[in-house]
């Protein structure tokens, strides 16, 4: 076997913070063979990204890396170079040319002011000294390589004219411009829809076969690397707990942490509510329309975010709303709660919900909403106790502060947190804890219906599982009804007993969970499921 293209030995990354030094990576080592795909898997905070950032010399100013990262450049005759010992200038010859990187956020990693072609020309002009004109045919080749339709036209587009998936393709093209030895992909699919995720992964696998570079694939989702990686390294708290060939790691994991990650799929099913359960919420022909564009004289175009949806929710039921981003599922959830102006009828316990904010206010107590991003949905300047007490302040203004504090403590216990935490600020909590706080904020009011808007998609798999279990517990205990909005079919399946599949503001398929999952009628539904990749996730649904 030839020498590995990259060998990392005893890599440590330390950050100087106000609380003293924090070790993000604690002495990891691995070899990356030529043309091999290595997946580094770990939950957020495990140091997986920081390890690769250190190799690239891209650490934040307060970070310091020690150890060795020996790179053997095939073009330079395989002479070993320790990347960590290089100066910034020497490193610049390697990064962007021999070792390249793609990032999670395709929306922000392209400069909005430059055309695609100009941005792609940058690495070619810098590393190869090509002129703008000479770079153009190479750029067209690259765009064709990554499967951008009509490259002759797209080369002169601005980033905002491309979709998220296309932007990520452009980023890949940019990374490939100089035929790198190593491509580091840092969660390249996390910000994308499931169907697009599958396309990008297929593209990466295909490119590797054709171009033969090594890929380091950093991800938190063990499920998606199974078909894709040759070897998998599992990281936890800055250490590598297990490495091995992908197949062995999936079939016979040795470390308990790996096993935990593998069973982190939310499991169990929800029983449908009893047949005679009273009707809670009905929507008939709900529409939400936004006016797009338009000026002084020009009439804007109407965009139907939700286009005539009817639904019926009974007590104790969970309706899962699934669809790609932009399909209108979040808008539907907000329209049902009258947080957005809409037309059509929405009735709560048989009575039409008022449109005015003032009349709606007393009803808000029973109709609650939990948001996707637990980092954004808690006010950073309020303690947890005050955040929890706010609903009480509004709906039970007669409570004394001591009573509010007691209720807040009870709510924290209910979602599995220590009541002593109520004097802390949200930024001191992890993502999963914050989502628990957000759930406690709604539970403290004893609502009847909670709209859950992607409550698990910003969380790690293992935390997702806990949140799903918590939500099911609370539902059983208090007879809650949920409208669960998500693009993650595994979570939807574990939590809901009825499914609405949405596309472009319309419901394309609906039915009881088992029926939709086991016998999807629409091609779109089948696509959504196939794209979720891991074959273990969906009982009988086999993947090719």
């Amino acid at each position: 076997m030839t020498d590995p293209v990259l060998s990392v030995r005893d890599l440590r990354v330390t950050f100087q913070t106000n609380d003293g030094p924090v070790q993000a990576v604690r002495g990891i080592g691995f070899d990356l063979g030529r043309g091999e795909t290595l997946a580094i898997v770990g939950e957020s905070g495990s140091g997986k990204s920081q390890a690769m950032m250190a190799v690239m010399g891209l650490l934040a100013a307060n970070g310091k890396a020690t150890g060795q990262a020996v790179y053997r450049d095939a073009q330079a005759g395989g002479r070993p170079v320790d990347l960590l010992a290089l100066s910034d200038r020497q490193l610049n010859k390697v990064r962007g040319a021999r070792i390249t990187m793609i990032f999670q956020e395709p929306m922000t990693s392209l400069d909005p002011l430059y055309r695609i072609g100009d941005q792609l020309a940058e690495p070619l002009r810098y590393h190869r000294g090509l002129s703008k004109a000479a770079a153009r045919p190479r750029i067209l080749d690259l765009l064709r390589l990554v499967g951008i339709p009509e490259p002759e036209r797209r080369i002169d587009s601005y980033p905002h004219e491309l979709s998220g998936g296309q932007r990520q393709r452009v980023m890949i093209a940019m990374a490939l411009a100089n035929d790198p030895d190593i491509l580091i992909a840092d969660e390249p699919t996390t910000a994308l829809d499931v169907t697009i995720q599958a396309q990008i992964l297929t593209l990466l696998a295909d490119l590797q076969k054709r171009l033969g570079m090594a890929i380091v694939f950093i991800t938190h989702d063990l499920g998606i690397v199974r078909r894709f990686a040759d070897r998998v390294a599992v990281m936890r708290a800055g250490e590598m707990v297990e490495t091995g060939p992908a197949e062995r790691l999936f079939t016979a994991p040795e470390h308990p942490y790996t096993r935990m990650l593998l069973d982190a799929e939310p499991e169990g099913r929800k029983e449908p509510p009893p047949a005679g359960a009273p009707e809670l919420l009905t929507g008939r022909d709900v529409r939400v329309t936004f006016r797009i564009g338009g000026g002084l004289l020009k009439r804007g175009r109407d965009f139907h975010a939700v286009d005539g949806i009817s639904m019926r929710l009974v007590q104790g039921q969970t309706i899962g709303v699934v669809g790609e981003s932009g399909s209108g599922k979040s808008t539907l959830g907000r329209a049902l709660l009258r947080l957005l102006p809409s037309t059509g009828r929405v009735a709560w316990l048989g009575r039409e919900l008022p449109q005015g904010a003032q009349e709606m206010r007393p009803l808000r107590r029973e109709l609650q909403l939990v948001f996707q991003d637990p980092f954004g949905s808690l006010s950073p300047r309020m303690t947890v106790g005050r955040i929890l007490g706010e609903g009480l302040l509004i709906h039970e203004p007669d409570l004394s502060p001591a009573d509010r504090a007691r209720r807040a403590e009870a709510a924290l216990v209910e979602v599995g947190l220590d009541p002593a935490m109520r004097n802390r600020y949200p930024h001191e909590f992890s993502g999963g804890q914050r989502q628990r706080i957000a759930i406690a904020r709604t539970m403290i009011l004893r609502p009847k219906l909670i709209v859950l808007d992607e409550p698990t998609s910003a969380l790690d798999r293992s935390v997702q599982k806990q949140i799903v279990m918590l939500l099911r517990d609370l539902q059983g205990k208090h007879g809650l009804s949920y409208i669960f909005i998500s693009h993650d079919l595994a979570v939807v399946r574990a939590l809901s007993d009825y499914i609405l599949v949405m596309r472009d503001g319309r419901v394309v398929e609906e039915g009881p969970t088992e029926m939709v999952f086991d016998a999807p009628r629409e091609a779109y539904t089948r696509d959504l499921m196939a794209a979720a990749l891991s074959r273990d996730r969906f009982g009988r649904l086999a993947l090719g």
């Binding site: 106000n18 609380d19 939950e43 905070g45 935990m260 709660l337 947080l339 709606m360 206010r361 007393p362 009803l363 808000r364 107590r365 609650q368 909403l369 948001f371 996707q372 991003d373 954004g376 949905s377 808690l378 006010s379 950073p380 300047r381 309020m382 706010e390 609903g391 302040l393 509004i394 709906h395 599995g416 947190l417 004097n423 802390r424 600020y425 930024h427 001191e428 909590f429 992890s430 999963g432 804890q433 628990r436 957000a438 904020r441 009011l445 790690d460 293992s462 935390v463 806990q466």
Partner: protein, 370 residues
């Protein structure tokens, strides 16, 4: 499992900011300088032996000096002058410490004991004591020499510059703070309301701001002064009333981005009233940028007051401010540079300190830095 990881110490955003601010030497030094200057402004005039309004006619435009006035070579000529006025003659005066005594020689008439009044009136001497002989023709006159210190010299009217600078610090800092607090309250209330309510109300409120913006500041101040007469309060109001416009715009911009944040939507979904959302969610989260803007607003207000005083629209004699002192100093800088240098250095120190502190606060409150 993953839910068990909490930082060891609990810290609010403000504590975090404070920790970062403490590492910024320039900001900490500025805060100390400001605190010292504020104390000097408050207590200095009380402790000073001179009042800011006392005029020493003998000491008009005297230069800064650590030696006491009158200087040794000025004492005897001054004493001779008073003797002449009192029509007294005497032997060579003897200076012992601060007591000056002279043996009076006989004239044509007996010495009137009331001659001590000449010495009482003098600013150089005090506590005259006349010991007359039996016949009233000769005696000994003893006076104390008044020693006055003018460390920073005196102005054209013979007033102590140090005391006047301390009063100037008091007035300038007070104007800076009060005008900024006024701008803060109006600006935050106006901007947050306009930004949060949005739509037509926002439009109307911000057009009012635009209209006020287009009024020239000096013109506006003159108008106010003409209507309400010249007083310190009007100056506070004039400066506060123009400075809140910037504050309102900044706050509105911040509010627009805050109101799309999920925690505001979460409060709406909880059923919070608009007022509750503004006071509980929007305003507390505005504080970071607003605090920074205020530290930069204070020097601006001080400069505006200086400008007004320089133009003669500000505080009135004998009250003074740094701006007024600089304006007077500038007129006398050829002969009496100390009249300009003292207040100018003080104002520069205040402005430097405020700007450094503002920069430090901005860095330490910026969440991107964490």
């Amino acid at each position: 499992m993953t839910d068990a990881t909490l930082p060891a110490v609990s810290r609010s955003l403000w504590q975090d900011a404070w920790l970062r601010l403490r590492k910024n030497r320039a900001a900490v030094a500025s805060a100390v300088v400001l605190a010292v200057l504020a104390l000097v402004g408050i207590f200095g005039p009380m402790l000073s032996p001179h009042s800011h309004a006392t005029i020493y006619q003998q000491y008009v435009r005297v230069a800064p000096s650590f030696e006491a006035y009158p200087k040794a070579e000025d004492i005897l000529p001054g004493f001779e002058r008073e003797m002449k006025r009192a029509r007294l003659t005497g032997a060579e005066p003897v200076l012992e410490g601060s007591r000056l005594s002279v043996a009076l020689t006989a004239g044509e008439k007996p010495i009137d004991p009331r001659v001590t009044r000449y010495f009482e009136r003098s600013e150089l001497f005090s506590a005259p004591q006349l010991d007359l002989a039996e016949d009233g023709m000769t005696g000994t006159l003893t006076v104390s020499v008044n020693r006055q210190y003018f460390i920073l010299g005196t102005d054209n009217l013979g007033r102590d510059m140090l005391t006047r600078i301390m009063i100037g610090i008091r007035i300038s800092l007070a104007i800076g703070l009060l005008a900024s607090v006024m701008a803060l309250i109006i600006g935050v209330a106006w901007g947050a309301t306009a930004g949060y309510l949005g739509g037509r109300i926002d439009n109307v409120m911000m057009r009012i701001v635009d209209i006020l913006y287009s009024l020239p500041f000096i013109f506006f101040v003159i108008l106010l002064l003409v209507f309400f007469g010249r007083s310190l309060v009007i100056i506070f109001i004039a400066i506060g009333a123009t400075e809140w416009l910037d504050m309102a715009r900044i706050v509105r911009g911040q509010t627009l981005s805050l109101k799309r944040r999920e925690f505001v939507q979460a409060a709406e979904a909880l059923g919070a009233t608009r007022r509750g959302i503004l006071t509980r969610h929007i305003v507390p989260n505005l504080l970071g940028p607003v605090v920074v803007f205020v530290t930069l607003l204070v020097p601006k207000a001080i400069l505006l007051e200086s400008l007004l005083s320089f133009l003669g629209l500000g505080v009135q004699d004998p009250m003074t401010s740094l701006g007024l002192l600089i304006s007077e100093g500038a007129q006398n800088m050829r002969g009496a540079a100390w009249q300009l240098i003292g207040p100018a250095l003080t104002l520069t120190a205040i402005l430097f300190a405020l700007n450094f502190l503002g920069d430090g606060l901005r860095d330490s409150l910026d969440p991107k830095e964490r």
